[in-house]
Symmetry: D2
Subunit: 400 residues, 4 copies
């Protein structure tokens, strides 16, 4: 019997062709399609794999695991790669790798295959993750290996009766999950050209968004968003709901020229209505519940976790140490944030918490003021002392 | 003759009362009003000081110095305190301190006075800066010292024929310069309450902004914005122009609960249409012109400079080292950014530069691709090696 | 009845005078002496407090708590303030504050008092800690408050029959605990002068150390040192034993001009034979057990914890988040380190661990080599790609 | 005529064989030997290249350039990779690459070759540097490419009359320059085994060092060491002199298990008597001349530069920005440091500077004290305010 390979299968042309190609290399192909919230018809994908030649075909619903164990840490970390990209695909890769390895171990497979090319970040994320989880498994990257042009690939598909997707001439390369949607290629490759409207799918264009704002209240428990307008949702559903509501108001479009791990700059377009809304709301709840030292140091942790995830090192022990830090900071991040969704904005208008460290009696300029104004004199004297001594010594402007 | 004090004079009630109060302490008061772009009628302010009792009154136009030596570094640093506040007042304080010291040295004054209270950041910025520039000068903070209630202050003013401003019952405390406008106090003190429309002045409310976007091109030379739509401006004028154009489209409102240096959280509302537009455009030009290592490390420098400025340490030698770093990075930040101003957004739609490191032939997925796909195999192998060895040793999942 | 104050009592002149002085302010004084390993005769101290006038006198053995909850984190963090100072006094202050607050709450006291002056770091550490633990307690700093000269203080002591310590004319100010001994003042105040031999107490001078090295093996479990030469010790005892053994060989002298939190530079001399030996050994065990990303990021956490402790913020929530990170990294820091103690050096000569990530088959240059040399070609190609593109664009040295 | 290749030639077996091997690939080989202070007989090396078959042979004295443009920045940065390794080889590689490219351009060569294997860091440093300086040049790594065992290589050498070095059976692989000497391989590959005495060359073993200390004074001008005991030296000579003097006292042995860029841990032994002595002295001069904010932030810059150099990115624009920062900080690092060399230690006993910010009148505990003790009260109150508010809110221990 042929050795088994588990193929991360999307239903698209590349991975369909890969089924046949892997068979020709002598493998029995098990297709595996992960549902991380991309909203595709996965039953169709599942049966297509069998049609094309897979010996069996899995569809695994990993939405909750993705939301709770992956997207949630991106939220807690305020993860925005280079200040802009909320780690859409970068977040799902390690989870998909984990599921592929689980299936491989269950099926007794010797290899795992993915459909990435040789110039993206995702190949790194898949392969490093798979190696970390089971270094005994071989990793195969058929698309990178065969090195065909688009035409050659289509010829191969036709010759082997592999169905050609109807949208094949779409100029875009899309990936989507709960946390958002990414899009690259085509006209986007010129960074001077504005992304065309058809590059977007989850968000209403600004000039078509409603003229009436929608105001929602998002409730958080220890950093986890749990309610919208007082109604409880499990996290995966809450994100989907926000994708819909905030997307309707045009929230979450991102146009980014980014530095890939593999050494090139690329231009990508993202849509993350739910993620952007949650990131804003969560940050503002932290603004009132985190003590200053935590608020000022936490971004360094978040930044490191962001890089780590972007760079495919989710299964590094560093991830566990960083998330241990983050979890510790979230103990009091409980409260409600009022967000106005309007014309592409998610504007935080109000925030409140039983753990709020904002103290009106200290902050006020009214007669309720409890702040000790005289303390400032001593504070300033010592705070500025090093600078003052430096000036005395080095500016020689004074006689002391 | 009485010893001279140089008073930072704004024309408002506090500093007008301070003129009289300082006289009662035995000082001859020289009023000094700095024009850093707040758009007030400064001749009126100048003569009011004399009316109230100053022995002389200066108005100094410091707009260009403020733009070129202060705001420009906030731009190069992408300075946003706690991710939100573009350092409006924090930026002007050291410059005002510098001018006060210059006047003091010219006038032979023994002291400098400012109108800050004892709970804000500005007292720190003024006093540390003055001490750094001339440690021999005494610093007086009349408002902090007299400790009167609002009513007591008004009584004192009436008794001494000090004009009471007509807008005295405004609930807000405003500061403004080229880089933006800050607002605190009053209803803003409750962080659950949305800022009322009257808290804003430079920006059109979203529901009243034009329904047609305005597209502008901003040109940069070595990190300095120099043109709008091809027309050259000196920096101060360029910022003012953008305040007008972007403000019309509602760009630049910020609502922030921030951690003050003096240990409390306060809620502030800012409007920075020009600053926010420039910060976005500058960042996107860097996205194509900075090499990855610089792009990833520069935010640490920017963050440190932001803290330093917020915390009143502008005249620390650390500032010079940080700006030396920043200037070095700006040598190739030359190019044009196309920005769409619409419904409160400054959306960068395109960026181009002769120094662009974005290489379409490396980034493309077309047949023009010059990227070496096979290199990725070796890269991933070494990139993931530490994680893999860690798994082999610590997960014990494999037999090697 | 008089209100009670809990006084941190050392038995020295300052705190003995403080007993009487506090009585004169109307307090009933409860003396409290913490044993954190300074090796004093604490029963004598206890009874001296009563002699001088305290209504009761506590001696609390906090050595284990100090070792396990405080010193251990300094070890895990590789805490060296400004690269040199292992946080001797800075570590004990929060624990002493905690014990004082516990006694205050048990005794129903209204205040806590300490013997610090107004220019050191310790006053900050005591007062911030006490405020964090029980903001209702008043904090009194008699020495800072009375502001007497040395002569005035001695006069006061004589007048009130307070015993004058025999070593009163010692030029030094000493503090000691398990983690080391600090010394300031006197001749040390001139940073050009070498510390005199009598400034040291725990360490043999280099020219008198044994001419034969002593080789010890220190065993660690999850980052905690547990054995010396195979013999188990509880942590407090292990540190004391190392103070003795390493001190005999002259290990751990530190001469440091440091930046105090209160804005001045001061020159201090430390002796930390056990701490320095453990810090070296622990780092080298981490060198073989931590994966590269953790090894490279952990110093940022350690540095932040060091600053936090130095700056008196032990009871900030940031401490808990930082230690959560550290604990997570220590899971595999288990193994044995062989240390040669000789002529003031603690030289790590060997390290081994079941969790060692050092892989001889990857590292070797012999024929056992399992490293994939060809992988390097691809790695270098992508690693250097941004720099190469930058050169092509900006150096214009080539025609492409 | 054959295309020319410039070979970095050391005179050892690998690069001698490479001359012949490159000839067989059709190249005319120009040998190029850089003198960066390794103390070899370079005329012998030069003529050996010709003997073996090079068409011409360069010896370039780059000691001054290495000292002034490379080692000096390692000193200013306090560069110690992973806290231990002073970047010996990592520093020289970019300079050697630069010289090779210069020779290649002068000679009209099409390629540059180096003798590195496929598992070290140096291949990365050479190739990234060469690519950055002239991306048109091909880079050849004969040793990595031929992949021979030691025996095969020797057979090849014998067959082609290439002289076999007499010390061929040395178990060590050595690299040396002004900044130190590195050693790997052989028995060192077991991290539990102490390095044998024969692994060292520049330093006296501790038990053979003089029993009398040697005290020297090192003078610095703007961060550059310029004098020893008042006598001026150019930098390269000063380092060499310190290598001799400090080496005699056993200073500068380092035994390090380090994380290579290429993903493995390796164990290396270094000797850097001059570098370690200078690093200690320079740091202590900074301790008195740098203002606190600079002193606390500069290590982040130094650390980044260290990583950059270790990782082969010397010719990245980030290097220029980092060194611009460093240079700015060195303006007042002028003064004299007294160092006691004794039993493997370089102990700084005294430091003085006209720019010293250490102020005895602020630091003293004598009656000369000019520090304002009362200022501390206000300082502590505001410094601890966030922690206090946090406790009030979250500990609920008090009724407010």
């Amino acid at each position: 019997m042929n050795k088994k390979v588990i193929l991360a299968y999307s239903g698209g042309l590349d991975t369909s062709v890969a089924i046949k190609w892997l068979q020709e290399q002598g493998y029995a192909v098990v297709a595996c399609c992960l549902d991380v919230g991309e909203g595709k018809d996965l039953e169709f994908v599942k049966s297509k794999a069998l049609t094309v030649g897979a010996i069996s075909s899995y569809v695994i619903d990993a939405k909750d695991e993705f939301a709770n164990d992956y997207a949630l840490y991106a939220l807690k970390a305020h993860a925005l790669y280079e200040g802009k990209y909320p780690l859409v695909s970068a977040l799902s890769r390690p989870l998909i790798a984990k599921k592929l390895v689980e299936v491989a171990e269950k099926e007794g497979a010797v290899a795992v295959a993915h459909g990435c090319t040789g110039k993206g970040n995702d190949q790194v994320r898949f392969e490093v993750s798979i190696n970390a989880l089971n270094p005994n498994l071989e990793v195969i990257a058929p698309v990178r290996e065969w090195g065909w042009s688009r035409e050659e690939e289509i010829d191969y598909a036709k010759k082997h009766d592999i169905p050609i997707p109807v949208n094949l001439d779409s100029p875009f390369s899309i990936d989507q999950n709960l946390w958002g949607r990414s899009n690259e290629c085509g006209v986007l490759e010129d960074p001077w050209v504005a992304p065309p409207e058809e590059a977007y799918d989850l968000t209403t264009p600004l000039d078509k968004t409603p003229d009436t704002p929608e105001i929602i209240e998002i409730g958080f428990e220890k950093g986890v968003p749990t309610t919208i307008n007082g109604k409880s949702y499990k996290l995966a559903d809450l994100i989907l709901e926000l994708n819909y509501v905030a997307g309707k108001h045009g929230v979450g479009r991102i146009d980014h020229v980014e530095n890939r791990l593999v050494g090139i700059k690329s231009r990508e377009v993202y849509e993350c209505p739910g993620a952007i809304t949650l990131l804003k709301a969560h940050k503002e709840l932290e603004d009132i519940t985190l003590v200053k030292e935590v608020a000022h140091f936490k971004p360094i942790i978040g930044q490191k976790l962001t890089e780590l995830i972007y760079n495919g090192l989710w299964f590094s022990p560093l991830k566990d140490a960083l998330t241990a830090f983050l979890d510790e900071t979230q103990k009091t991040v409980t409260g409600v944030v009022r967000v106005k969704l309007f014309k592409g904005h998610a504007i935080v208008e109000g925030r409140k918490s039983d753990y709020s460290l904002y103290n009106e009696k200290l902050a006020t300029y009214t007669s309720d003021d409890e702040f000790d104004h005289n303390a400032a004199v001593g504070f300033i004297s010592l705070w500025g002392l090093p600078t003052k001594v430096n000036s005395i010594v080095n500016n020689k402007k004074v006689n002391v």
